[in-house]
């Protein structure tokens, strides 16, 4: 399906290419092979851990991906953290104080965040915090520190400053989603018999809300949130483009424009792997949180 995105030849040969060059390169890359054969070759190589060489950078795709992964994973992690932290906090607050003016304000304002496209929010944040106020950087990761093959921006001041705006941009939508989910699940749990029974036992509101209600709320929240984490990584495409965040999303967009087929294919494989991993983690978390599943598993 990559053939529809464009022709890589054009980018690989310069302005001074002749038609003979085009034919030679096309042949060399195997682009004239039947589509299925191309796909088969890709799969055969991928199984051996060989994802090919980037047309654009002339480096092994695996190396390029590994170089870019930390940036995206850190960004996704921080925005997921942001989304979950604030989503759960605000969700719990709005569920407990279901009628207050502040609750209505939070609910309405959070909707503003999902009523504008992500890229616009990112650009507006840059305009406000980088250009007008000059508080935070407008692009990039800041300084990074190397730990093994992993580069992290979370250990330097400039790295931390740099992640704030992209993380908010990326996490805003998920935060709203989680908040609403927590709110509705928690309202339901708060009406359940065991919460009423806990009240009847004289437990404090604090214990009821945070020990009994929240934990039960989290069971369904974990599934949806977990599955949504996949979309954090995907939406990183937009955020990384806006903030010039050197992650795999930006790599993907560059690759689409350059028609760097090996990188695009590898990115899609990466997303699939993420899917499997996320599903696995969600299942594990589920078992940790919900004892009913633990028993079934043991049997």
């Amino acid at each position: 399906m990559f053939r529809f995105v464009g022709d890589p030849i054009e980018n690989m040969l310069g302005q001074e290419r002749t038609d003979a060059d085009v034919e030679r390169l096309r042949d060399q890359l195997g682009l004239d092979d039947p589509f299925l054969l191309q796909y088969w070759n890709f799969l055969a190589d991928a199984v051996q851990g060989n994802l090919g060489i980037s047309f654009r950078q002339g480096r092994p795709v695996v190396e390029v991906l590994i170089e870019r992964l930390p940036a995206t994973l850190e960004l996704a992690f921080i925005s997921a953290l942001f989304a979950i932290l604030f989503g759960v906090l605000l969700g719990v607050y709005t569920a407990i104080r279901s009628k207050g003016w502040l609750t209505n304000l939070i609910l309405t304002v959070s909707l503003v965040g999902v009523s504008l496209p992500t890229f616009l929010i990112g650009i507006l944040l840059i305009y406000l915090f980088a250009v007008e106020l000059g508080w935070l950087p407008s692009f990039g990761r800041g300084d990074t520190v190397q730990i093994g093959w992993w580069t992290t921006g979370l250990l330097t001041i400039s790295g931390l400053k740099a992640i704030i705006l992209p993380a908010i941009t990326l996490g805003l939508y998920q935060m709203t989603l989680i908040m609403r989910l927590v709110r509705s699940e928690m309202s339901e749990v708060l009406n359940s018999d065991y919460i009423r029974f806990a009240r009847a036992r004289g437990l404090s509101e604090r214990t009821i809300n945070f020990k009994h209600a929240l934990k039960n709320t989290l069971v369904p929240v974990i599934t949806i949130t977990g599955l949504q984490l996949g979309s954090i990584i995907a939406f990183a495409i937009v955020t990384e483009t806006v903030f010039q965040w050197p992650g795999v999303g930006l790599l993907f967009i560059d690759s689409v424009q350059f028609v760097d087929i090996p990188v695009m294919a590898a990115y899609l494989m990466f997303i699939s792997v993420m899917f499997v991993a996320i599903n696995l983690i969600v299942d594990i978390l589920y078992v940790i949180v919900d004892p009913r599943l633990r028993i079934e598993g043991a049997n």
Partner: protein, 526 residues
Amino acid sequence: MKLMTLLTSSAAVLTLAGGVSAETLNWARAGDSLTMDPHAQNEGPTHALASQIYEPLIQRDMSGKQVAALATEWGPKADDPNVWAFTLREGVTFHDGAEFDSEDVVFSFNRAMSTNSNMKELLSSVVEVRAVGKYGFEIVTDGPNPIMAANLNDIYIMDKGWSEANNAVEVQDMEGGEDTFAAKNTNGTGPYTLVSRVPDNKTVLKANPGYWGIGQFPLEITEINYTPIKNPATRVAALLSGEVDFIQDVPVQDLGRVDADANLKVVKAPQNRVIFFGLNQGDADLTTDNVDGKNPFADLRVRQAMNMAINREAIQKVVMRDQSIPAGVAMPPFVNGWTEALDSIPAGNIDDAKALMADAGYGDGFSVTLHCPNDRYINDEAICQAAVGMFAQIGITVNLDAKPKAQHFPQIGNLTTDFYMLGWGVPTYDSEYIFNFLMHTKGEKRGSWNGTRYSNPDMDAKIVSLASETDLAKRDATIGEIWSQVQEDLLYLPIHHQVLNWGMANKVETPVSPDDRARFKYFTLN
């Protein structure tokens, strides 16, 4: 990988918001270099970075003039027009301390002409290269090549010993998927050395203390941090917030804002690039039009009418915000062969155009699809969009199909577009380059970018003759003849010459080079 380790563990590389030390320049542009191997890719940003580290025999200065680099003298041999002779600079060392001599030049030219090289098209007429003593060098061509020097500006010289020691004799085979030592490491003679590099992210250069040009060039910038920033708004924001000091591609609408900023300024100059529309005038019928069995573009009157309909002034004033020079010929003004008369904007107004259309039998108009890139030229999509409105006024309904360059340009080569936008820069500053690619009948060796299906054997013969014509006056005359034929037949509808705008902090002083190449050794700071 080793280099990355070096980079990331090294100290703060990019300081935020203002506070840049006097010698460091933070540089951003839209794209990154693709590889550090100087012969693997013939592409703007790749050469832009390479040219800070590697040097050619002859280079251009900031005004576009050819000046001595690693060669101090050059020219065709008086006794044999097929041979160009060069005198090499003495006392030059590579970054690793190795001495530069003719062996390195021969090695580098052979490397640039090898199969994997992307530069070999520029040297297609070369038969042999040879060293003449330690500091002499000769190029033998298959015929007299009067403009050989113009092809050498991006042929960079590598150290033979270093390449052999590091298994980098072969050019990185990007297409075959190869990763070589030279793709990540450098050893040039240039004014800057590579400190660290993470592709698409950050590249750090430091001034070369052993540079031969110390004293000849300002060399005031001692450190360069280069970051590609893809999104235009982010790029401008980074400049406005002081995070970068120098960006090469300022969106035209933001020039005012940058210029108005107390800490920033905009420097501009005409670019060596012309933008035009190509028309399929050779086929019997068009695939994207609504006229059966006929090709409206084949009618000269239709082409003339369309040429008149393009309101170049409006495009210049509104779409380009004065950052363009309306063009009458598909040739940048720097190019040998350009005259003011050729470049004059076609006379006539909408009514004349309508009359021509009626004359040609298309009084009721027709419809056709215009293919346009949306990420290649300055405001490319907006220009096409404006043109759609202008053609509509003479009854031509144009469907606009704007796409990324990777999807757009193959259509021209594959002849699957009837009507397209193209821009052309002329690194050789000579008309022959334009004729070879755009005017010659499409064939194996020439005419690869000619999507007009125009074929004129007489003109083809003239174009081929240019390559071996040593009498420059005669050659110029032939060029003139070809151009008047091109204008008469209206192969292309020229739109404008692009104007380059560099945005920079006030402390940076530099003119703008017409090839959009920042040569930092010429930069001064105040």
